[in-house]
């Protein structure tokens, strides 16, 4: 039974999920099925949450019990899991007050002819540029009491306080470290070691320049933008001629001839390129043609692969949900 029941459940659910794409939408069967499936997935999702939590507690609990290397981190993980869960459960009225300042007080709800006080709050004082701080609005009758220039906003819910002032900065900081690694990687890895690497290099430079308004760089920005074609085509031609010269000295005259002809062909393409093609236009060409062609091929391949895998799972040939057993 343990081997047969899960594939049957999986197959039936899979067929139901497929059916809704073929059933007419206004039928009672469709509506009932959709409601049942939605409710079921919510229940399964909640169970998944509990399983995830149990797994987290089990794994980190074991590390703490065995005093495995780095067990202190497990203590921190479990403590903060409990703390964040608690902050979400306790009352919305519990939380710290933050110092704030009223920005403007005016009637800006014309439909109801109602005054609102626009106030900002941050952890360390306030900023006048509201779009950089947490902005809240309160009806004037509910606005907090003024104490000199500063006011105290009503309590910020503890969960939102944690989210805004702990989770947000930490998440952003961790991800922003990528920028530093990527910059050193560009220096170490992006070198014209081969013909393919050179193509990648030139495309990436075009995309990098096309993604920013390079003309705003003082002194050289406007020149770079005005000579986009010269920079790109001349880099390509010089590189190909350099490769041709190497082939010539290695006495590979046919390869040398092919490369020289390629350089001439690029020169012809340059001649016929419209004058208004700048880095942004080149970026669009790369993204819309070579990129699309490659992506479309990958997408079709991936979809055919997932179709085959889905059929195998639904028909019970593959059972990843049983850990590959059965």
């Amino acid at each position: 039974m343990r081997n047969y029941l899960p594939p049957i459940i999986c197959g039936v659910c899979g067929v139901i999920m497929m059916l809704h794409f073929f059933l007419p939408e206004n039928t009672m069967l469709y509506k009932t099925m959709m409601e049942w499936v939605t409710n079921s997935t919510i229940v399964v999702g909640v169970f998944g949450l509990f399983i995830g939590l149990a797994s987290l507690v089990h794994n980190h609990g074991n590390r703490i019990a065995r005093r495995s290397p780095g067990w202190g981190y497990s203590v921190i993980t479990l403590s903060f899991t409990a703390i964040v869960a608690l902050t979400g459960i306790i009352s919305q009225n519990v939380g710290p007050s933050v110092v704030s300042k009223p920005l403007e007080k005016y009637n800006y709800d014309n439909r109801k002819n109602q005054d609102h006080t626009l106030i900002t709050h941050t952890l360390f004082g306030y900023k006048d540029e509201t779009y950089k701080t947490n902005l809240v609005a309160a009806a004037s009758s509910d606005a907090p009491e003024m104490k000199g220039e500063e006011i105290t906003v009503r309590k910020v819910p503890l969960f939102m306080f944690f989210y805004n002032y702990v989770i947000m900065p930490m998440g952003a900081t961790t991800f922003s470290l990528l920028a530093f690694y990527m910059i050193t990687a560009t220096y170490r890895a992006m070198r014209a070691k081969s013909w393919e690497a050179s193509l990648l290099l030139i495309s990436s430079i075009i995309i990098l320049i096309g993604q920013v308004p390079i003309e705003e760089i003082p002194l050289i920005g406007k020149w770079i933008m005005g000579h986009a074609q010269l920079i790109v085509y001349m880099s390509l031609i010089l590189y190909i001629l350099y490769a041709a010269m190497k082939q010539f000295f290695s006495r590979n005259f046919i390869t040398c001839g092919i490369l020289s002809a390629s350089a001439a062909l690029i020169g012809v393409i340059w001649y016929y390129t419209p004058a208004d093609v700048d880095f942004e236009a080149m970026k669009s060409i790369i993204l819309n043609y070579p990129n699309n062609a490659a992506k479309r091929g990958i997408l079709i391949g991936v979809q055919l692969g997932s179709l085959a895998t889905s059929i195998k799972i639904l028909s019970g040939i593959e059972k990843p949900y049983m850990g590959g057993r059965g």
Binding site: H20, E25, K31, M34, E35, V37, T38, T41, I42, V44, G45, E104, Y106, Y108, D109, Q114, H116, L118, T130, Y131, K132, N134, L135, V136, A137, M160, Y163, N164, M168, G171, A172, F175, A179, F180, I183, T184, T186, Y187, R188, M190, A192, L201, S204, I205, L208, I209, Q211, V212, P213, I214, E216, I217, E280, S284, L287, N288, N291, K295, R296, L299
Partner: protein, 341 residues
């Protein structure tokens, strides 16, 4: 020299070769800080992908008017048919069409569903585009429905963005708008597990998919929901996502199944994955990364949240290009010796 990774220069090293990594980190920091502190205006041309999103939103009232006209023509046809055949099925159909017309007329400027599906790690790129798009909706009188699809951590972020956008209207230089009220001008549904199923259920009936909003209010009691029942009452979907798979779900459900215009907001690194969908017209446009957000801000006159951050991106990209050039010059001058990287 930072430890833990192989040295690319071998045993004989000069100062740069010994310390290039911390020096690059330091200069990157200077670029980011310098860019963040730069307060100059920035002119950006608007790409076709961004323009597609902007134009679709601008045309929503027109689309809705066309939809109402279509339904009225269908109603007239059915009423004509009812003169010769007064069966119960036909009467039900007529009632359904009348109901549909009434719902469409409740929101003549249109209704947009915004799916905010990112966490703090990608907020720097995606937050500004969410702000700019929602503000654009409010300034045009479009009703906004907000949900989160793939990650429960997006919920508080979405709540921050929607409530800030609702109050910021009066501070905008262009396209000012009144204070937007929760439950009347916008609603935030929050998170439910299994996005694909959820979106399908929303296509059938939003009230059974969510039942309450994020704050726990019964959806049936909210004024905004009087004119919105399912996807047929929504004119456009805008999915802002930092996760793999989320936009594909919207393309499959929102566009392929329910035929609604879908627009995407993507981090720059994933944006190239979705250009094929623009060409095949499965999405009406896309905001690619911070640049897309800055272009959109320029197009709709929002406060320069993303445009301000573009300076940091400009300096850092320029620095990266310089490093590539320096690295390659170094490579060429030293000849094609094989090195371990």
């Amino acid at each position: 020299m930072a430890s833990g990774s192989p040295n690319i220069y071998g045993p004989k090293q000069n100062f740069w070769q010994r310390h290039y990594r911390p020096l690059i980190y330091l200069l990157t920091l200077v670029c980011v800080v310098g860019g963040t502190l730069t307060r100059l205006p920035l002119s950006l041309s608007v790409s076709d992908a961004t323009q597609g999103v902007f134009d679709t939103l601008e045309k929503l009232p027109e689309l809705r008017a066309q939809d109402i006209e279509k339904q009225q023509a269908l109603l007239a046809e059915k009423l004509e048919e009812a003169k010769t055949n007064s069966g119960p099925d036909l009467q039900k159909e007529i009632a359904a069409i009348k109901d549909k017309i009434a719902r469409l007329q409740m929101n003549p400027k249109g209704v947009v569903l915004v799916c905010i599906d990112f966490d703090p790690s990608t907020e720097a790129e995606l937050g500004p585009m969410a702000h700019a798009f929602i503000r654009h909706c409010f300034s045009r009188g479009v009703k906004v429905l907000v949900n989160t699809g793939g990650n429960v951590m997006s919920q508080p972020l979405a709540q921050n963005i929607i409530s800030a956008s609702a109050t910021e209207g009066a501070l905008m230089k262009k396209n000012k708008y009144d204070f937007m009220e929760d439950g009347t001008d916008y609603v935030f549904f929050g998170f439910r597990p299994n996005a694909f199923q959820l979106y399908l259920q929303m296509g059938e009936n939003i009230l059974t998919a969510y039942e309450t909003d994020y704050a726990g209010h019964d959806l049936t009691l909210l004024p905004i929901m009087r004119g919105i029942r399912n996807f047929s009452d929504i004119d456009m979907v805008f999915s802002i996502s930092g996760y793999v798979g989320s936009p594909e779900t919207w393309i499959t459900v929102g566009n392929t199944k329910f035929g609604k215009p879908v627009a995407l907001g993507q981090v720059a690194i994933s944006a190239s994955d979705y250009y094929p969908y623009i060409q095949s017209k499965q999405i009406c446009g896309m905001l690619p990364g911070l640049r897309g957000a800055a272009e959109y801000e320029g197009a709709c006159g929002s406060p320069p949240r993303a445009t301000g951050r573009m300076w940091a991106q400009l300096y850092t990209h320029t620095f990266a290009i310089l490093l590539i050039i320096i690295g390659n010059l170094e490579f060429f001058f030293k000849g094609f010796k094989r090195r371990k990287v």
